[in-house]
Symmetry: C2
Subunit: 270 residues, 2 copies
């Protein structure tokens, strides 16, 4: 059984590799939240090589919304930086297949539509820093409520690259001021999974008209003694790719992430 | 001449030691802001040994408002941790002498009132982190305005030690949200000079009724696109000592600090 003993020596903990094997075998068809605790989960975008160079540059120019963990060779379904035994065509429980910007299919295996010119991009995801926030005793409202994190399109422009351009999407978590300060400190340590917040308080300054009406995800309450804290969000690249309407592309389905062999703790720079 | 060449090799820079010699010689009787750029300046409290143990414990319990840089042996006017050639009785340009909580004198030399039971406490000061904020390109409103930083008594209780207790005093600097996030990052690196903010936004939550009416210092404008950011302030120990009304004590006069041999840059923990 592919599990490891935790540092405390009592509970067997599922590894990222074990999670992928389960998904690959068709034994896990649900969202990946809660799988392989402690392991990095990633957003996925698969693009034709003709667009890949521009998208790679877009990620480099916009590291907060698009923190690139790994990019593949064209046509190569492996991402060795994220796991020795990793096949990007089978290891995610639900994919979305897009043609000219239209969602044409949701599948659990993309071997049938794989092409020799496809390049896979794995981008950091907020699961990693949320784990660090929870370990710091901070309450994350949407987790407590069992809902999706609220996300908003902003008036913050991304830096364009080739056809890729558009507004930054942010996720929001409300905190009391002292916890907001702690959240800045904790997430600053994780630049490869969105890093420090991009904004806090004053949603109108970044073009958010109604905090109760997120553009994606579910609304959460922001109490009188709390500030909304905003992080650059991995939905930004998805939204930007949708604008470009590539002739073909594949993404993960929201919440159905790529589970990697990397440890969240190892992403911390300090 | 006791100056050093800067790292850039062009301008001679006044050292902390040179500043103290100038003060000791009576050649500088003004506030110390701007003296010996790059060197740590400190708040000073001198208490009889009978109170020193409790005050030392108070500092340890309240490191954000009372970041202790050095404490002397009883009766010893030196603080070797802050400078080899340092005499606490002559090296500050203006002292305040207090009896039973009453200000009885302002002098530029305390040799005449020195006692064998006096213990000196040097506490970190916001000058150090303000230098780091300015180096990060952040605009500090009260510096731009040439006024004193606004300070407020809060409803945040300090942890008591012996007779020492009372509310935390905070200083306030307004920043736009992205700069407030950067200010949290920058000042987190300086725990021995107040460290990260204790609060931001929502002044009413910490008992500040009117941001335009500071309890100490001068008001500064907080613009619509700014958040007030609050740091624990070195006026806290002064305010707490005043409450205790010690039979005798000495402090620096506000703005007339102890210039040390320590470099601000060396206080950064990361």
């Amino acid at each position: 059984m592919d599990t490891t003993m935790s540092a405390l020596g009592t509970t067997a903990r599922e590894t990222g590799h074990a999670a992928r094997l389960k998904i690959r075998a068709g034994a896990h068809r649900r969202p990946t939240a809660g799988m392989a605790p402690g392991y990095v989960q990633a957003n996925l975008a698969i693009l034709p090589a003709a667009l890949a160079a521009d998208f790679h540059r877009f990620c480099h120019l916009n590291p907060k919304p698009c923190p690139l963990l790994a990019a593949s060779e064209p046509g190569d379904p492996r991402l060795p930086a994220l796991g020795a035994d990793l096949d990007i065509r089978t290891d995610i429980p639900r994919y979305r297949v897009w043609k000219k910007g239209e969602l044409v299919d949701e599948v659990d295996d993309i071997r049938a539509v794989w092409r020799d010119d496809l390049v896979s991009f794995a981008l950091g995801c907020s699961f990693s820093f949320e784990e660090a926030l929870v370990e710091n005793g901070l309450d994350i409202r949407h987790i407590t409520c069992g809902s999706n994190v609220p996300m908003y399109r902003t008036n913050i422009a991304t830096a364009p690259a080739g056809p890729f351009h558009g507004p930054m999407v942010v996720s929001m978590r409300p905190f009391r001021p002292a916890d907001a300060i702690r959240a800045v400190q904790v997430t600053t340590r994780f630049p490869t999974v969105h890093g420090a917040p991009v904004h806090l308080g004053k949603p109108e300054m970044i073009g958010i008209k109604d905090i109760a009406k997120p553009d994606y995800g579910d609304p959460v309450e922001v109490r009188d003694d709390e500030l909304p804290v905003f992080w650059a969000c991995g939905v930004t690249p998805q939204s930007v790719i949708a604008t470009v309407k590539p002739e073909f592309c594949i993404t993960h389905a929201p919440g159905y992430m790529l589970v990697t062999d990397l440890l969240n703790a190892r992403l911390a720079i300090l």
